[in-house]
Symmetry: C2
Subunit: 528 residues, 2 copies
């Protein structure tokens, strides 16, 4: 999934390659070579500068190799600049950086030219830790002892190295030209990358080993980029609010907005941040994997073969659909499921209670062991020669997930004393956010009934945030501020929430005043 | 040679072991373990704190091992504190530090308890680079290429490790308890320790690779102390004014004195600093190795067998002497030579022109191939069964050295517009400074004719300065100030200096008004 860079960023790259002509040494200026370079850079405003001592001898030799005309590569950390490299001569290649979305399932890498500010390319790879556990809890168990932690780290680093080699190679660039990495992952994934003990994350009171991480250098982690390259790992707010989300806040620019905006990242957990430049409130809750295409019998991830768009003719009850990739359909992904539910509801196939109406006369509607089913794609069209259907049970699972989503949104908005109408912008992160059609999601009551232009899919916000700090170092300070002002609230499952939740399992809701734009078809009113 | 610690030091050790009881993690305080520790330390005034990322996982694990009651070991660098270690529990051993005098010929190590501020012990070792060159120029040639540099570094580090193992072992302490090393060496030796290219030091315009060095960590250099221990290498002012001397300035407290004081370090080069808290002027000049017992036929370093004190009966012209160690004399060391010259002069054996008076009637005075000689110790008393004598040629060599010394002193004092009488204190560094008798040195016109109480031997000023920064980190800032205010002047060999020098080769000087306290014996007046 591509990322784009917002226009409000300042041109303050995390790494700068600065050509400097040093005054030639003279008898009456007995400043050492290093001191001479640091003095000049200091005069240019780069101060204080720290120098990592490993390999210092070879590094300083370059000053004379360049006959005192050199390019200093400086990396920024909030308390000092760091001398990453000295290159003889004044015409250096542009410094490269890589933004990384360190996901539980997939890793995405974005290669940036830090001078031209272009995204040169991207690549992705499966998270290599999956053999040690699809879910993160199994991996934490695997990592209870040091050897497990080191193995999980080794796997990640190997995938980083292979992906970076491939990505830079595709552009004819050397991996050693990469001077900075910014990595946005959830709290557990960041712990895995840094081989920190993850056990505190899943044990009450759920305290991670670290929320803010020091800057690492490539050699600390065994990364095959420039050995002194800086590695920035996004800070967490807590065990359940990780660096992927703090990166997301940057990506959405929530922390600099005058108006109140909301950012929703939908996955196994739905993570929500609402706020503006003065305050930020975050929460997370289990929305269920059904929203991403999981659990539902013929659900699948958004990938070739997935049905991602569905339309149903209300008169004939016939379905038409779009398939990702030029292939026969194999299943239905999250956005396809939302479309399907919304269209089934509009056509009266689904009742407000979320039941497939058995009284409709259509060859597509028929009973099965899982209750009534609706055939989205008949066997002759599908990849596996079986009907692609949705059953009452599938619908029930899906509506629970959408209800959880809506409940989480309602609760947090009420917590901050606002109504949905106060939200000037509703950002949806992730693959999901890029593909869903807000009109459809509103129709099923999954998201609030706001003007459609309020909604915006942001794509990979973790990757976007990571790319952004590489281009604008001032965001590191903003990130610090985000972490210090954000309030994270636990959603307690209490009676109020349960009532709220039950109401939200209906289509669109037991309280139709919440969704004034949604027309409820007559046929859908007749309970099953 | 022992060092002592001046009383004016503040109790601000470079490394502190700080017991902290952290608030137990709770659901409503989702601060990470590391963040919790840093927050607490910050509240105690330790901020900002940097954490080196290598080995971070194991380090953070100690917080829970100690059940949130831990001792944080923090090292100070001028721009931040560094988290060196976390020890479970609240009753840590005192942190240790080692001050190192990194000499061209000898290394000296001083073990300090940074809590009790005691010097626990010391040890020394030959510089292991000597096989690659007695003199520093030969070693620089050996180190022109990287492999040579790495070999010289390896040798030093091995000797550091062996000496530190021995020194800590002698006190039943583990080398891993050493959290800081402060190393004071001349510019070339510091470059050798850090494997920096030393070639610039000996090529016009004599610019070293670096004057100020970053803090190193033990692992950067392969030192077997605590792996995250800080290594501070004293800054140089230039190629010929190294960290041994900036340490010496601290040791002498020159930079905090209201009155003008002078520090002289006599070796192959005589290095001189004069000044007070507002200004410091330094110079160095070849005083000749004769002052340390070199070159002169029967001269030797101050070591067992060296004659270090001589008295001559002016009536009988018989000599008595003291020998270092309980052994037969083998030669004469620097302080012995000064005594010898002074006593020969007082007894009229030496003329004001520096000739052994051939007209005196004594069995100790006789001609040789090297001109007239005086027998200090006859063959029957000496270690090698040969007379220990001093010849006209020896005297000539020695007087050139003492003349160089006096000339350097005169020139620098005149440069700053003062007279010797303005000096309230005259510190003499090194072995030499500990052993010479100022009265004798004045008598031969080697040092100015000041009240004897003006003179003070400071012992190993490099080692002392190194020990001092371990006990008082505020000296790092003072060291910075020293380096920024000090002016280093080259002594040009011009006509004025030559005239000055010629006058100073006499005993005590061609201008006796410069040495009013020195009585010139009648016999010494009759030129040879």
């Amino acid at each position: 999934m591509s990322v784009t860079i917002p226009e409000w960023l300042q041109d303050l790259p995390l790494v700068e390659a600065i050509p400097v002509e040093l005054p030639a040494p003279r008898l009456d200026d007995n400043t050492g070579d290093l001191d001479r370079l640091l003095r000049k850079l200091g005069e240019m405003g780069y101060a204080p500068i720290q120098v990592q001592p490993a390999g210092l001898g070879a590094l300083l030799g370059r000053i004379r190799q360049g006959d005192f005309a050199v390019t200093a590569v400086l990396g920024y950390t909030p308390c000092h600049w760091e001398l990453i490299d000295i290159i003889p001569g004044l015409a250096p290649d542009p410094p490269l950086g890589i933004g990384v979305d360190l996901g539980t399932s997939r890793l995405a890498f974005y290669l940036l030219n830090l001078r031209s500010r272009e995204i040169l390319g991207e690549t992705s790879a499966d998270n290599p830790q999956i053999p040690h556990g699809e879910d993160i809890l199994t991996r934490i168990l695997f990592a209870r002892q040091e050897p497990g932690r080191l193995e999980l780290q080794r796997l990640l680093v190997a995938t980083f190295n292979e992906s970076i080699r491939r990505l830079t190679g595709a552009h004819g660039l050397p991996p050693e030209g990469v001077y900075a990495l910014a990595v946005a992952g959830n709290t557990t994934m960041s712990h895995f990358l840094l081989a920190l003990d993850p056990r505190g994350i899943c044990r009450e009171p759920y305290i991670p080993a670290a929320n803010r991480f020091p800057f690492f250098r490539a050699t600390d982690l065994g990364l095959h980029i420039h050995p002194r390259a800086l590695v920035h790992v996004f800070p967490n707010v807590g065990s359940y609010f990780g660096g992927d989300l703090t990166a997301g806040i940057l990506a959405a620019g929530l922390h600099r907005s005058e108006e109140v905006k909301i950012l929703v990242d939908v996955g196994t957990n739905a993570e929500v941040v609402v706020g503006n430049r003065d305050w930020l409130i975050a929460c997370a809750g289990a929305a269920g994997p059904a929203l991403e295409g999981g659990v539902v019998e013929r659900g699948m991830m958004a990938a070739p073969g997935a049905i991602d768009r569905v339309r149903i003719d209300p008169d004939t009850l016939e379905a038409s659909y779009r398939v990702l990739g030029d292939v026969a359909p194999a299943g239905i992904c999250g956005s396809g499921l939302i479309d399907l539910m919304a269209e089934m509801f509009a056509a009266g196939i689904l009742t407000v209670q979320g039941r497939i109406n058995p009284r409709l006369d259509s060859p597509r509607i028929r009973p099965s062991d899982d209750g009534m089913t609706y055939v989205v794609a008949p066997a002759r069209e599908s990849a596996d020669g079986r009907d692609i259907v949705i059953s009452d049970i599938d619908v029930g699972i899906f509506l629970k997930s959408k209800a959880a989503m809506y409940t989480i949104l309602s609760v947090i908005i009420r917590k901050v004393g606002l109504t949905f109408q106060d939200l000037k912008r509703f950002y949806v992160a992730g693959t999901f956010g890029s593909y869903i059609d807000p009109a459809m999601a509103i129709r099923i009551g999954m998201i609030p009934d706001l003007p459609l232009e309020t909604y915006e899919g942001l794509g990979n916000t973790a990757g976007r945030g990571a790319a952004m700090v590489l281009l604008d170092r001032s965001l590191l300070g903003e990130l610090d501020r985000v972490c210090s002002i954000i309030t994270y609230i636990e959603l307690n499952v209490n009676m109020e929430l349960m009532n709220e939740f039950r109401g939200a399992t209906f289509l669109p809701h037991t309280d139709p005043r919440l969704f004034p734009s949604v027309r409820i078809p007559e046929k859908a009113m007749g309970g099953a």
